[in-house]
Amino acid sequence: APDQINIAYVKDPFNLQNIVMKQHQSLEKEFQKDGIKINWVSINSGAQQAQAMAAGSLDVSAVMNTASLLMANGAGNKVLVATGVARPTQVFAVVGKAGQQMKIEDLKGKKVAGPKGTVLHQVLVAALKSKGMSINDVEFIQMDPSKAYAALMGKHVDAALLAASLIIKSNQAGAKTVVTADGLVNPLLVMAVSEKFAKENSALLERIVKVHRQTTKWIYENYDQAIAMGAKEAGVSLQDADKLAKWSHYFDVITDEDLQSLKSDQAFLLENDMMQNKVNTDQLVLPIARQ
């Protein structure tokens, strides 16, 4: 057994389980008796998490988005799903310029800024599709959310694809949400693990998953306390924290529906040239994730 586990700490977008798990030192306590040290490393970027796993610097990521996970696997870097974390449907939204309330139809011909190949992109495509349009009907501009937010505030774009706090902030600045992921796509955040670690230390992984699920349970039982913790860590108000938590829909066991959305995620990525090789998405989900 290893003497330490390197695990990514990902607090955005408002990953309450991760925040609580770290603050409570639940993993540290769990593995103390085995003399295994827990190394939290802060990496927000999914792509960078996958790179760190490939380099052997990272074993587990407490939260990874499925797009990054699929792209890594498509490129031959095996990263597997250990358990579910959240289905943050309202955490991803298309937000219009301050002023008028836009509808999806109004996006036609407009400038929309956001990160390519992510859930946010997927939301936009799905939203347009729902009104019989395609991505070619808008002028899509590639930018990461914090820059898209700046562009929206500076009124240099008509709409932006934003997540979590950025949605709240832009709403406060008078920008109105056009549509969220709710009902269009099923965004998934999962706990991910490198194939190597999953194979060699499956017992340890099981215990990590167990702690994670206990944390999820604790959050629902001590909601106010958890929100306060999250608000402090993320630097948002209690109200906003509550909102973000409600939007996030924390869960743990991966369902058939989730497997289905993994498939459609992959289809989306392939369609948009974001993935070269198709993989069997069912095999990416470890058995423990489903029990």
């Binding site: 792509a47 996958a50 790179q51 490939a54 380099a55 792209m71 890594a72 498509g74 490129a75 031959g76 870097n77 800024a113 990160p115 390519k116 190949g117 501009i141 590639q142 930018m143 990461d144 914090s146 820059k147 937010y149 700046a150 562009a151 505030m153 500076g154 240099h156 774009v157 974001m274 993935m275 070269q276």
Partner: protein, 239 residues
């Protein structure tokens, strides 16, 4: 030495010493290169990046050289503006991107500004210290020869400061290339920096390497041309 590194790379890939996901084999980089050349996107990327790198660089040089000159000459100007300039020198341009977007939009201007911020200071500071360190004896000579400001710059100050100015221009050129990735994080849809960050996001390490190598090769070509030019214009400055 470059050859040795290349061979090492080939061997490392051939024997899978390293994870191909992070360090792709020369072969796969080559085929990614061919692929990008074939569909013509590589040329778009190169074209866009060349424009930005040179545009920002030229703008930086146009501001930095006169500023270096005047600040060396009129120390009070230098003292006056020191705080602002030094702040700008220390602040990471990446952190300014949101503000740049706010003020300059998401067009070329913001990108050019990032390049400018990256390459301005070596040019400015080297020019400043070059002009500052001028041998005062030649200044006396200029006075007795009744040279006017322009003649003084042309015959005495510029040639005297040239070695330092040249080092600054070379450094600035390098930084203007380096800044491409940051600059093209702002709403770019082409450019080598965009290619690199986009491909990196999509785990296309082979394309990332094509981007990196293109930047290195173009940069070296630029630097070489640059050194040639200076050798032509000012043979005395490179002994």
């Amino acid at each position: 030495m470059p050859v040795a590194l290349f061979v090492l790379w080939g061997l490392a890939s051939a024997f899978s010493w390293v994870n191909p996901y992070l360090l792709p084999s020369p072969g796969s980089v080559y085929s990614a290169f061919i692929e990008l050349v074939k569909d013509g996107t590589l040329f778009d990327h190169v074209g866009a990046s060349l424009g930005r790198a040179f545009g920002g660089y030229l703008a930086a040089a146009c501001f930095a050289l006169p500023m270096g000159y005047f600040f060396a000459k009129y120390e009070s100007l230098h003292v006056q503006s020191r705080l602002v300039l030094e702040s700008l020198r220390m602040i990471p341009p990446l952190s300014l991107i949101p503000l740049l977007i706010l003020w300059l939009g998401i067009g070329e201007l913001a990108k050019l500004t990032i390049v400018l911020l990256a390459s301005f200071f070596p040019i400015y500071l080297n020019a400043y210290s070059g002009f500052k360190q001028l041998d005062y004896r030649y200044g006396e000579l200029a006075k007795t020869l009744n040279l006017n400001t322009f003649e003084k710059i042309r015959h005495i100050e510029f040639p005297g400061a040239l070695p330092a100015v040249f080092t600054g221009l070379r450094l600035g050129f390098g930084y203007s290339w380096r800044a491409l990735v940051s600059a093209e994080l702002i709403a770019a849809s082409s450019g080598l920096g965009y290619l690199i960050s986009d491909a990196s996001e999509m785990a296309r390490t082979d394309q990332v390497f094509v981007g990196i190598l293109m930047i290195a090769v173009l940069g070296i070509i630029g630097d070489t041309l640059f050194q040639r030019a200076i050798r032509k214009v000012a043979p005395w400055s490179v002994k």
